[in-house]
């Protein structure tokens, strides 16, 4: 961007740290508690004693029951760990005050009048407590998921070092299996799924002209469930006896007989899943009920459409993975027989339940990215998105079709063989709405005035990479080819082309795009572009050769492999270190620009959507006045067109739009 467009209100965000609402009552932060009250007021000092109190109370209860029932031994790790992963986090949540308001309400105490003291960030400490401001929660989510992204990437570097040569180098098979399992589990459950909840949290209420999410306290809670889930999974790694090592898919019956660390995985997924469900419910209610006047469904930005579709998927599908992990846990802890063949369990049943979530999860991890790309491509091409309604409808088509394709992960699993062909047909049909999206983005570029800012680079890079990932998906959709390619490095290549070249590229596009809005500062454009090119090149060098070695006969999830793949793997490992290093550029750019970047204009991209019509960063309650939406969100090039009218001293004038 250029100098003059963002010179305007450089210092204007300073006064937004004060609550914008004038008048009624006390709005400032309440007086700091002193003395002993510091240990009873919600916060980390209270969590210091509630966490062990509630945590050990749970463990004590387990021991008490075992003692009373004459079970031996009384101190037995499996039920203890299972209960500990519930009670310690509950103690923490109670301590930091995630339930305070509801506790007052349940117990019949007068609920405190809302003083908004838990809303917004006035100092950096406000990011480390339950906060009801969707903008703070959005940043909490993003920073947390990026931290997990770095950890997950580091784990990948470790096992790529092992894979640089055939044979065992640095890690024994147990450690290797833990590394691959934790890498995938973190990247999926603690990075790609929740990172979109972070971007959505920040952007969606602003985009639809709302003051906040529908349930701000629930929103505050749902964020805190995420780090709990991620940390539980990480703790599993260092459990005595061994970490979770059955892959992120955690197939029964293997995972029922893994070392103790597997329990942490089973329970970590529950916390992360609960976080997803609660956030998705919040998105749904927010999008359905809190749109600004005039914002009909057909005037919603496509990111809002995407989050609407995604949230529906999350709410409907996530309980299934919760179920699958609980069943595995029950088999281990309670000696049920869901998946124990010897006792009549149904092994394939696990996979059906697991993939009934985990395939829709692929779209949970992709649709919000589609939304981001639609925003970026339209704004940066200075053109309306091509075929807006078909773009929205194709999201819904993916949502519906997405529930009818799960068994394509099981073509070789030994499920009912008649299911293969119908599942193949629905799988391949998903290429149609997905193709519509790719063609429509490309058509939006056509004849545009394309500004190759960093977010746009990521968006175009995404379109290219996702096209490759989509085409390799066609091969995998076809049953005979899938039978050959299943469980090989071809799958590893495909999943990274859609989840890294796909989802993560859109995440970077989104983070750079909304960075000025979130922080009030511009990121460094040159470093952003450097980050893109390093990642783009490193990504392709890392993952493209995997297609080949997979089809040639290298299975996934092996620490050791045939010597004829040695050169390829060495090449891939070296490329992957380059890919990992590119993240350093990103982190430096983000941290440095957040502190020292040039102040950003309210609307550096000249976008029409609502979040750009308020200051950067936005006022604490987003809009001083409810905006009036009068047209579509992408009316670039339409003379006189407006998406919304703010600060409505003048009566809203309906402006003809393209729709």
């Amino acid at each position: 961007m250029t100098q003059d467009v963002r010179t305007a209100p450089a210092g204007s965000h300073a006064d937004h740290h004060a609550p914008a609402e004038a008048g009624n009552g006390h709005h400032g932060p309440p007086p700091r508690p002193t003395g002993i009250h510091r240990f009873t007021a919600p916060g980390w000092l209270r969590a210091l004693w509630t966490t062990p109190l509630v945590g050990f109370a749970g463990l004590g209860l387990v021991c008490l029951i075992r003692w009373a029932a004459h079970w031996d031994p009384i101190w037995y790790s499996v039920p203890l760990v299972t209960v500990a992963t519930v009670t310690f986090p509950m103690g923490l949540l109670i301590g930091i005050g995630a339930f305070d308001y509801w506790a007052y309400y349940f117990s019949g105490k007068p609920t405190r009048p809302e003083d908004h003291s838990g809303h917004g960030a006035r100092r950096w400490q406000d990011y480390f407590r339950p906060n009801t401001d969707h903008k703070v929660i959005g940043i909490q989510y993003l920073v947390t998921t990026m931290a997990f992204f770095v950890i997950g990437g580091f784990l990948a570097m470790l096992f790529r070092a092992e894979l640089a040569r055939p044979g065992d180098q640095y890690f024994n098979p147990q450690t290797f299996n833990v590394l691959i399992s934790e890498h995938a589990a973190l990247m999926i459950f603690a990075v790609v799924v929740p990172v979109f909840a972070g971007l959505g949290n920040f952007v969606i209420p602003l985009m639809i002209g709302a003051a906040d999410m529908a349930f701000p306290r629930l929103n505050a809670l749902s964020y805190w469930l995420l780090p709990i889930g991620g940390v539980i999974m990480l703790v599993g790694m260092i459990t005595p006896g061994g970490g979770p090592s059955a892959g992120w898919t955690c197939y029964a019956p293997l995972c029922s007989h893994q070392p103790l660390g597997q329990v942490f995985f089973n329970m970590g997924v529950q916390w992360a899943g609960a976080s997803s469900i609660v956030t998705a419910l919040n998105f749904l209610v927010t999008i359905i009920t809190m749109r600004a006047p005039g914002m009909t469904f057909w005037r919603m930005p496509l990111l809002v459409w995407a989050n609407f579709s995604t949230s529906t998927l999350v709410v409907l599908a996530t309980p299934f993975i919760a179920g699958s992990q609980f069943f595995v846990l029950f088999d281990r802890v309670m000696h049920t027989n869901f998946f124990e063949t010897a006792a009549g369990g149904y092994v394939i049943g696990y996979q059906h339940i697991f993939w009934f979530y985990s395939h829709p999860a692929v779209y949970i991890m992709m649709l919000p990215g589609f939304g981001i790309i639609s925003e970026v491509v339209s704004v940066m091409s200075r053109k309306p998105i091509f075929g807006y309604r078909l773009m929205a409808l194709s999201l819904l088509a993916i949502l519906v079709l997405g529930f009818s394709v799960w068994a394509h992960h099981m073509f070789v699993a030994g499920m009912a063989s008649w299911l293969r062909v119908p599942m193949m047909v629905t799988t391949l049909l998903i290429a149609v709405p997905t193709g519509i999206k790719i063609f429509s983005w490309v058509a939006t570029l056509w004849d545009g005035r394309i500004h190759f800012t960093t977010p746009m680079l990521w968006a175009v890079g995404f379109i290219a990479m996702f096209t490759i990932g989509g085409l390799s998906g066609i091969y995998l959709g076809s049953v005979p080819i899938d039978i050959h390619a299943s469980d090989t490095y071809f799958i590893v290549a495909h999943i990274h082309y859609v989840l890294f070249g796909g989802s993560i590229f859109t995440v970077f596009a989104g983070i750079y795009f909304w960075f000025p809005k979130m922080t009030g500062r511009m990121y460094n454009e040159r470093l952003g572009k450097l980050h893109f090119w390093l990642t783009f090149i490193g990504f392709n060098l890392t993952f493209f050769p995997m297609h080949y070695i997979g089809l040639q006969g290298m299975p996934r999830r092996v620490a050791d492999y045939a010597s004829r793949f040695a050169d390829f793997n060495l090449f891939i490992s070296i490329a992957s270190f380059g890919l990992g290093a590119s993240t350093v550029v990103f982190l430096y750019n983000m941290i440095h620009s957040w502190r020292y970047g040039e102040p950003a204009d309210a609307n550096p991209w000249r976008s029409l959507t609502l979040e750009w019509q308020v200051s950067s960063p936005p006022p604490i309650f987003n809009f001083d006045e409810v905006p009036q939406v009068v047209g579509g969100p992408y009316e670039y090039g339409v003379p006189g067109a407006r998406h919304a009218i703010l600060g409505g001293a003048t009566a809203p004038e309906p402006v003809p739009s393209g729709h």
Binding site: A246, P384, S478, V638
Partner: protein, 340 residues
């Protein structure tokens, strides 16, 4: 559009398509097929590749053309593009054409799948057992081997199952793969059509020895296979030591010990996953146990003593329940007598 633009667009499309086609043709993506099924998979693969190349060329052409031609020359250019909101005909085309193409892929795939699941008349039925971390193959005469030997050009129906957790049977050159699932028998059809020795690979993560869970599939001339198979049906020549020894050797093979352990008296036992069993007396002395007790404990409770240089939890801890007691005693006796 100007004519020059159309020409440029087509040139980019042809160029991108040509590069992608060269990558598709000159890189030998799939292994050379060694079965009729793999040959058919090759066909579907090329069918899908032609369609993919076409789609790739179209998207690449428009994307690259747009990136080159429609970027603003001057970052201060604040003009907007033409307010085109869509084009119904184009949108219908790019909905219908891909739908037709993927339907075509579906139909071809479904036909090939049906053909690949058909073993023809008089198939050879072989039972495939996956267990941590070895494959065993049981032939119609009841004999069990650690290596899969197949006659060329005869339909083979593999009945794949597992003894503990899920494994997956894959021979890349055969193109066919099937999970081995405990508690159920899955069918997989292979008609080998090229002589040679190919790797049998486990592709489903099955525990610590997963990467080493390998065997071999040998495709033999029909006459060679017939004489080999007749030979296995004869009562095996008695090795010195009598019937007990041959029974012990059979148990050793049947439970897959050969895949992980080297044991000189049995030529097939060349596994490297676990320690060699040729020097058990020394190990028993090191563990401070009687030889027989030591061997039995090492089978039933393998974590009790870990040979130097090896990891615990690699050997399955289920043999105590899967090997019947009388067979276990025979096996222990056999090992005790034949080790050094």
């Amino acid at each position: 559009m100007r004519r020059g633009s159309i020409l440029q667009l087509i040139l980019i499309g042809v160029g991108a398509g040509a590069i992608a086609t060269a990558v598709a043709i000159f890189v030998p993506w799939l292994p050379t097929p060694a079965s009729r099924q793999a040959g058919r998979i090759d066909f579907v693969y090329w069918f899908a590749t032609v369609i993919s190349l076409f789609i790739f060329a179209v998207v690449a052409a428009i994307l690259i053309y747009a990136v080159i031609n429609f970027r603003v020359k001057d970052p201060m250019d604040f003009s907007d593009g033409p307010p085109v909101h869509g084009h119904t005909t184009i949108e219908i085309i790019w909905t219908v054409v891909p739908a037709i193409l993927v339907t075509a892929i579906s139909v071809v795939s479904a036909i090939v799948l049906a053909q690949n699941s058909h073993a023809g008349s008089n198939p050879l039925v072989v039972r495939v057992f996956g267990q941590q971390f070895t494959w065993t193959f049981q032939y119609p005469n009841g004999k069990i081997f650690p290596i899969l030997r197949l006659p060329i050009d005869r339909g083979v129906e593999l009945e794949v199952t597992a003894k503990d957790v899920i494994h997956s049977f894959w021979v890349p050159q055969f193109g066919q793969k099937q999970d081995a699932v405990p508690g159920q028998v899955n069918s997989l059809v292979i008609t080998p059509d090229r002589l040679g020795t190919y790797p049998v690979i486990c592709t489903e993560l099955c525990g610590l020895g997963h990467a080493l869970m390998r065997s071999e599939a040998i495709v033999m001339k029909k006459a060679d296979w017939n004489s080999w198979y007749r030979g296995t049906s004869q009562p095996a020549p008695q090795p010195s030591g009598g019937a007990g020894v041959s029974a012990g050797a059979a148990i050793f093979t049947q439970y897959g010990c050969v895949a992980c352990h080297t044991f000189t008296p049995i030529p097939a036992a060349t596994g490297k996953v676990g320690p060699s069993l040729d020097n058990l007396k020394a190990s028993a002395a090191k563990a401070g146990q009687q030889l027989q007790d030591f061997i039995k404990q090492s089978i039933v409770d393998p974590n009790a003593y870990i040979a130097p240089g090896y990891q615990p939890n690699v050997m399955p801890q289920t043999f105590g329940s899967t090997i019947p007691r009388n067979q276990l005693d025979l096996l222990v006796e056999y090992l005790a007598q034949n080790t050094k």
